[in-house]
């Protein structure tokens, strides 16, 4: 535990230190260095807890009214913490390279200050064991990430996104406040909370807090909204596609790769701590499914790479939540097998998605860094000039689409298997949700594949569509390094998926006795799947060699794209992402909220034809409209103070009379 304490201390120290030096270089080295160091320190206990789940407690003797601050790492914490720390460390390395260009324009201190705070806060969230500490870390996380999001506050769009994020996360946190401050609340919440755990200043203080238990359903709902809003659960997650792209890419990576998981973590804890009721599972499955489909559909409609990635994060959060939902149903309906696989799938996907999404954001940032262009339809053919970025992006794309041999496939396999088993079990009320999960899962997989082929093809393949694309340049080593590391990790996660699942089940064992045994067949299945992956790679290698051998010495020419002999190909007539996605986007028009306007060629000598597509987030529009309405109504009440002192005195008199009437009646 000493290492863990050291990890937190390092983060906080790093935060302060990075503010001190005047020179940009020193500050960024200090800030990122401390972050990396802290992560390494934290990984030691996390890894230990992974291999042998145990409940370590780090108790901070903290004076009232906070009471004792308890931090603990058990299997589940470790499962969330380990990838988090790895990604944060890589993000720090990447960030140093990414922020280097802001030298002279900005200070290096603040970003690294907030980055370290964020690291500490996230670590705290995953390990806090008393409600007050959880709240503290949660709010710290929200704030530091907010400040990181609005790092480029010169840009109005960024300010807007950051504001939306701030408001959303505050409203979400309000629910957690209640969850964590209910009398005798514990974290993770206990069934039928006992009273008086809050450390008051006096015995009487504790006594005054004695009250009855709160219905578990209420706790669940509070957690669902509070944590769900952070996880991007529709409709509370509207802020996500706005805020994540606005942040600097290494921060986006941490937000999407790690911070979303804090929401999943919270809900998982609640589900494991309380005895779920069936309707919890139904709710989670339904909302998760909607979130997933909405997310991928939204991704279809985007025109900027980072926004697309943010939407896809929403999709994956949906998948995780569906897993949680099935797990909850399994627990509620006495189907331990489904429970184990559902939760297990969610956990495995947490790990995988973290890796892939962070890598994708790294790549997106590197493209932005190399071309200065956000819009995909302005890019093209970047692969040639940014080989590392392109290759790593391809790997990550395969992973995020859940295609073999990457880890993403494993998590979708487990989830799907869980759904099918749910179908087969003779438990009534389990089949319909399972069917829903299965359908949503496959639907999302297919659409995600379309999205990422399109994105990869438009950005990296074909011919350059703009000056920016032709002048692209590969990113510095500091940025390439983390990308390569993650790209290597991705297939390993696929081949070793069985291990990941095994660890997840091991972590779940304390809460779900028998999880390991029940999940064993699936683990074996994953091993065989890994053999198939191996075969696949072997076949590929064989074909590669074969082709090499066949073509050796033959005349291999390069010419223009044949394209059925089309005479005058230009870069502009290539399929763009929006045209690529258009058929699917129209197929799911109701979800994408995409409105296209076509100007058809007309007449004997058609002058011009065009297709303009635009998508807006309907949920967000709805919220903004509502808030605007309320705001206007409230502003109308400003008329109450028109500066007339007579009227003011009248207010006093009126209050007096009213209160007298109340008092003496």
């Amino acid at each position: 535990m000493i290492f863990f304490a050291a990890c937190l201390a390092t983060f906080l120290l790093g935060a302060v230190l990075s503010l001190l030096p005047r020179s940009f270089r020193a500050a960024s080295i200090l800030g990122s260095g401390m972050a990396v160091l802290g992560c390494l320190l934290g990984l030691i206990p996390a890894a230990q807890a992974l291999v042998a789940p145990q409940d370590w407690v780090l108790a901070l003797a903290w004076p009232p009214p906070w009471g004792l601050g308890r931090l603990a790492i058990d299997g589940i914490s470790a499962l969330f913490l380990t990838p988090a720390l790895v990604l944060i460390a890589l993000g720090a390395v990447y960030g140093r390279g990414y922020l280097a260009e802001t030298e002279g324009r900005k200070k290096a201190g603040p970003p690294w200050f907030f980055y370290n705070i964020l690291a500490a806060a996230i670590t705290g969230v995953f390990t806090a064991r008393d409600p007050f500490l959880l709240l503290l870390c949660w709010e710290a996380m929200a704030l530091s990430s907010y400040f990181l999001v609005c790092l480029e506050d010169g840009d109005g769009a960024v300010r807007r996104a950051a504001r939306i994020y701030l408001v959303a996360s505050h409203l979400g946190a309000a629910f957690l406040l209640v969850l964590c401050l209910l009398p005798g609340a514990t974290w993770p919440p206990a069934q039928g909370v006992a009273a008086g755990l809050f450390v008051g200043f006096s015995a009487e203080g504790a006594a005054t807090l004695a009250v009855g238990a709160v219905p578990a359903g209420a706790l669940f709902l509070l957690a669902l909204v509070g944590f769900g809003s952070k996880a991007g659960l529709a409709p509370f997650g509207v802020w996500l596609p706005e805020a994540h792209p606005a942040a600097p890419s290494h921060v986006s990576a941490v937000l999407s790769g790690v911070m979303i998981k804090t929401g999943v973590y919270g809900i998982l804890r609640v589900l494991l701590a309380l005895n779920p009721e069936p309707w919890w599972g139904w709710t989670l499955v339904a909302m998760g499914g909607v979130t997933a489909v909405l997310g991928v559909a939204g991704a279809l409609g985007q025109s900027e790479l980072k926004r697309l990635l943010a939407w896809s994060s929403m999709e994956n959060a949906g998948l995780m939540l569906m897993g949680l939902g099935l797990g909850a149903l399994g627990r509620a309906m006495g189907a331990p097998l489904v429970a184990a696989l559902g939760f297990g799938a969610a956990l495995v996907h947490v790990v995988n998605h973290g890796v892939f999404k962070s890598l994708l954001f790294f790549c997106a940032g590197s493209v932005l860094h190399g071309t200065g262009e956000r819009r995909m339809d302005q890019l093209g053919g970047v692969l040639g000039r940014m080989p590392v970025t392109g290759a790593t992006f391809l790997v990550a794309a395969l992973g995020i689409c859940g295609l073999p041999p990457m880890g993403g496939f494993a998590s979708e396999l487990v989830l799907g298997l869980c759904a099918i088993k749910g179908l087969l079990l003779p438990v009534s009320g389990l089949d319909i949700p399972s069917l829903g999960v299965l359908a949503a899962l496959v639907l999302c997989a297919g659409m995600a594949a379309a999205v990422f082929v399109g994105a990869f093809g438009t950005v990296f393949l074909g011919a350059a569509r703009s000056q920016a694309a032709t002048q692209a340049h590969e990113s510095p080593r500091a940025m390439r390094g983390p990308m390569i590391v993650l790209a290597v990790l991705a297939p390993l996660l696929g081949l070793g998926a069985a291990l990941v699942l095994q660890t997840a089940l091991l972590a779940l064992e304390p809460a779900l006795p028998g999880a390991v045994v029940l999940g064993a067949p699936t683990v074996e299945a994953l091993w065989v799947a890994a053999m198939v992956f191996g075969l696949l790679l072997a076949l590929f290698g064989g074909l590669f060699i074969l082709r090499r051998a066949l073509l050796r010495g033959r005349d291999v020419r390069t010419g223009p794209t044949w394209d059925c002999g089309y005479a005058a190909p230009t870069a502009r007539i290539q399929y763009t992402y929006s045209s690529f996605a258009q058929p699917l986007a129209d197929m799911f028009q109701a979800l994408t909220g995409r409105t296209g306007s076509t100007t058809r060629p007309w007449g004997l000598f058609p002058a011009r034809a065009g297709y303009v597509a635009e998508t807006q987030d309907r949920i967000l529009q709805g919220f903004l409209g509502l808030f605007g309405f309320i705001n206007a109504k409230l502003e109308a009440m400003h008329r109450l103070q028109q500066g007339q002192v007579h009227v003011y005195v009248l207010y006093i008199a009126a209050t007096l009379v009213a209160l007298l009437a109340w008092g003496l009646w």
């Binding site: 710290a140 408001v167 309000a174 008051g200 005054t208 009250v211 409230l634 109450l640 007298l660």
Partner: protein, 492 residues
């Protein structure tokens, strides 16, 4: 013994300030008094309280708390004022809003009244007799009126007039309530707090209730509870930021006055009634403030309404009782230091940007390398974010509400907090972010960043640090005093 000197020393210094001709000595005196007052206060924490005028004046634990926060804020104000008065140009100058010419009222009067104000505040903290309590509160009003009219232009004059009239009316009602309290005791008991509490059960309940209503409305006007708060935004926006800072103490001691009265009510077994009224007025104030915080265009008024909101929180906490009372005592400190810092910073911003318009201020963080970040921190401290004190105190209050199973009230409380949060951060961050506009000038010519003086930055910095401290750790003695105080004033 040190307790009574917290009244006498400032009074004497104030009297002296009127006659001292030399500015430098007077400023020195001001700073010295600030230090001395804090020293005396801390000393008063050590030594047991001695009564004065046979128990009419006595510094009990509640008094100690309020005296401490007053003293801390005054120290910050004093140091800031020294620099402020040095910066203030004498003679007629341009009014930044309308461009008319105006001049300051004599510095001697300003300093003198400031000190007398402090003395009156200390007096209120010690008063154990409701009559004297009233005298003290009224004295604070009168001592502060000239301060508001430091900048002699018509807006400040208007503010002064409203302040005088509204507060006098309110305070008059409080006086009536005081008498009624006496009458409730059959006119036989004196207005001494101990006597009244001793006579508690025998007091006539109807008269008692009526008395409490009058006192609540009366002192509530001074405390800035909606809808009696209307003087507050005008005063805060038109007076020098130091004055605004000190009027935070004014609100605090009015709150103390209400707590004193509630002690009597509780002794008479009528606590429920009082608590309901407090909760009601508290939520009303929070709601009213929230409405005016949204789309607020003047950042000094913004701070003023945030004060109204926080007074509402105090009242709410006190009304919830138990842990809530304790929470609102914590909040007293948390809000005091945070708000103090914000007022001083607002003064710096006003000096740099020459406008009170939110839309006129951009890129604060870049333009004012010290005040800017502090301003952002202050925003968080005001809106109850960690690691600042308000986070803890608001949570304690919320917790008490939940513990009392008053879920609806807790929900409303949270909602109003959220609205206020949105209002404050939206305006405040808009000022902090972006690129500084061209209206940023130093010595007539536009500059990228202002060079800030120590006297302008250190006091707010100190206060912000205090706010952080309160968010993470309470010094043991303070905590103990706070516990007893909350017990005395009707908590547990």
């Amino acid at each position: 013994m040190p307790a009574r000197w917290t009244i006498l020393a400032p009074a004497a210094a104030g009297a002296a300030a009127f006659v001292i001709p030399d500015d430098r000595t007077r400023r020195g005196l001001l700073a010295a008094t600030g230090v001395a007052h804090l020293a005396l206060t801390l000393l008063a924490f050590r030594v047991p309280a001695r009564s004065w005028f046979d128990g009419a004046l006595l510094l009990d634990d509640a008094g100690r708390l309020f005296l401490l926060i007053t003293s801390v804020l005054f120290l910050a104000a004093a140091f800031y004022t020294v620099g402020y008065l040095r910066r203030e140009t004498t003679g007629r100058r341009q009014d930044m809003v309308e461009g008319r010419l105006f001049s300051n009222s004599p510095e001697a009067r300003f300093t003198g009244c400031l000190l007398l104000f402090l003395s009156a505040l200390s007096f209120v903290c010690m008063a154990q007799n409701l009559g004297l309590l009233w005298v003290g509160v009224e004295a604070t009003t009168l001592a502060s009126a000239p301060l508001i009219y430091f900048h002699r232009h018509h807006r400040s004059l208007e503010a002064t007039w409203k302040y005088l009239l509204l507060c006098s009316v309110g305070i008059a009602l409080a006086l009536f309530g005081t008498y009624m309290l006496a009458l409730a005791g059959g006119g036989e008991v004196s207005l001494g707090l101990p006597a009244l509490m001793a006579a508690g059960p025998t007091l006539n309940p109807v008269l008692l209730k009526a008395a409490f209503v009058f006192l609540l409305v009366g002192y509530g006007t001074k405390m800035g509870l909606a809808p009696m708060h209307t003087w507050l935004p005008d005063v805060y926006s038109e007076s020098p930021s130091v004055v605004a800072l000190m009027s935070t103490c004014l609100l605090n001691v009015s709150f103390l006055a209400i707590l004193r009265v509630r002690q009597v009510l509780a002794a008479a077994g009528q606590a429920e009634f009082g608590n309901d009224l407090l909760v009601f007025l508290g939520l009303t104030s929070m709601a009213w403030a929230a409405v005016f915080l949204l789309r607020q265009t003047d950042y000094k008024r913004l701070l003023a309404y945030s004060s109204v909101e926080h007074m509402g929180i105090l009242a709410f906490g006190a009304g919830i009782g138990g842990m809530g009372m304790f929470g609102s005592l914590m909040h007293l400190f948390a809000h005091g230091v945070a708000k103090g810092a914000m007022f001083l910073l607002a003064g710096n911003i006003l000096a740099a940007y020459k406008t009170k318009d939110v839309s006129g201020v951009r890129g604060l963080v870049r333009a004012l390398p010290y005040s800017g970040p502090l301003w952002v921190a202050g925003l968080l401290a005001l809106t109850g974010m960690p690691p600042f004190g308000a986070f803890v105190s608001e949570l304690s209050i919320l917790r008490a509400a939940l513990a009392g199973e008053r879920y609806i009230l807790a929900g409303i409380f949270l909602l109003l907090l959220a609205v206020a949060f949105i209002g404050i951060t939206t305006a405040g961050m808009r000022m902090a972010q972006g690129q500084p506009g061209s209206n940023l000038t130093e010595a007539g010519k536009p500059v990228a960043a202002i060079h800030e003086s120590w006297s302008a930055c250190l006091p707010p910095l100190g206060l912000i640090l205090a706010a952080v401290l309160l968010g993470l750790f309470y010094p043991a003695p303070l905590a103990e005093v706070m516990a007893t105080a909350s017990r005395v004033t009707g908590g547990f």
